[in-house]
Symmetry: C2
Subunit: 183 residues, 2 copies
């Protein structure tokens, strides 16, 4: 398939490099209404989202990259615990989570760079616990789009806090028509 | 109404202050795939979105704030041309648009600060061309949520470029289930 062999690593790294500083610029020092509130029971706040991103850096992306390169499809990736950050973040401040995310991402990008991936490596395959065979290209692309999906969620969670405050303009503000799409 | 008299200006200014640097950190220097591509005919790229934000700073928000304070509901706001930036941006580079937005936003926040708004001012009313009476509180809140709605759109437009590249992970990435909500 075209996407498996396209050498799009610089595009992916361009996103991965920028997300921590973008979130820092957007979020550090914000009033609690924007950081601590969610969209209702069982949903995530900005605090939870940044905790999730930091947790994924620690446990998910690079271990999966390494498994793809080392053992191919012999063993499935560890399932990704999408709620683990709720426990892992409980003793951290929001500013510490932003620092954690930036620090872990920087380390991971250095480790990725050290792998010196070649175009042919991007077609290497791993095994996802839910949907089976996946390529390294798909994994790395997902890492970048995962950043974007949480930026999308974050803007929606923040806007939700002003759903009533904007009055009749709510009809014109697309983010207020978004009701979440994550599975 | 509660929201009209709540003195939430610091919350609003906290968002408005951060958006330009967040977009700069996210977007400056990105490869063209993330900056120039849209979601199909008649839709916006990151370039168009930043142009729109800059154009709105120039023509929309502060003139409307001043009308609310000066003439109350005697005269409707000028309708907001949501496509004007497509012409206004055509001779600017993406980096210039990011600079324009940051510069104009900074000027507008200084002008807003100089108005020294008091809680009672937030209940002052203006007339929107489409939905009539609105308060200054609603207008200022909308300014902040308008930033968030375009951050939401931006993350979706960027993710769209990798819709196929992520392979089966597309099912797990909420941003790829979002099909736009702007009227």
């Amino acid at each position: 398939m075209e996407t498996q062999n396209r050498h799009n690593l610089p595009e992916i790294i361009a996103i991965l490099t920028r997300t921590p500083s973008a979130l820092d610029a957007l979020l550090r020092g914000l009033p609690d209404i924007w950081v601590c509130r969610n969209e209702g029971e069982g949903t995530w706040s900005a605090f939870d989202i940044v905790g999730h991103l930091a947790f994924a850096e620690r446990t998910d992306w690079m271990p999966r990259v390494r498994m793809t390169l080392e053992s191919s499809e012999a063993r499935s990736f560890e399932p990704f615990d999408r709620f683990a950050q709720l426990k892992a973040s409980q003793d951290r401040s929001f500013e510490q989570l932003l620092d954690d995310f930036a620090h872990l991402r920087k380390e991971n990008l250095a480790a990725l760079d050290a792998l010196n991936l070649q175009p042919e490596d991007l077609a290497r395959k791993g095994r996802h616990p839910a949907f089976g065979s996946v390529t390294l290209s798909e994994l790395l692309s997902t890492w970048a789009v995962h950043d974007l999906t949480h930026l999308h969620q974050l803007s929606r969670v923040m806007a939700h806090q002003y759903r009533d405050t904007v009055g009749p303009w709510s009809a014109y503000l697309g983010v207020l028509q978004c009701h979440g799409h994550s599975s």
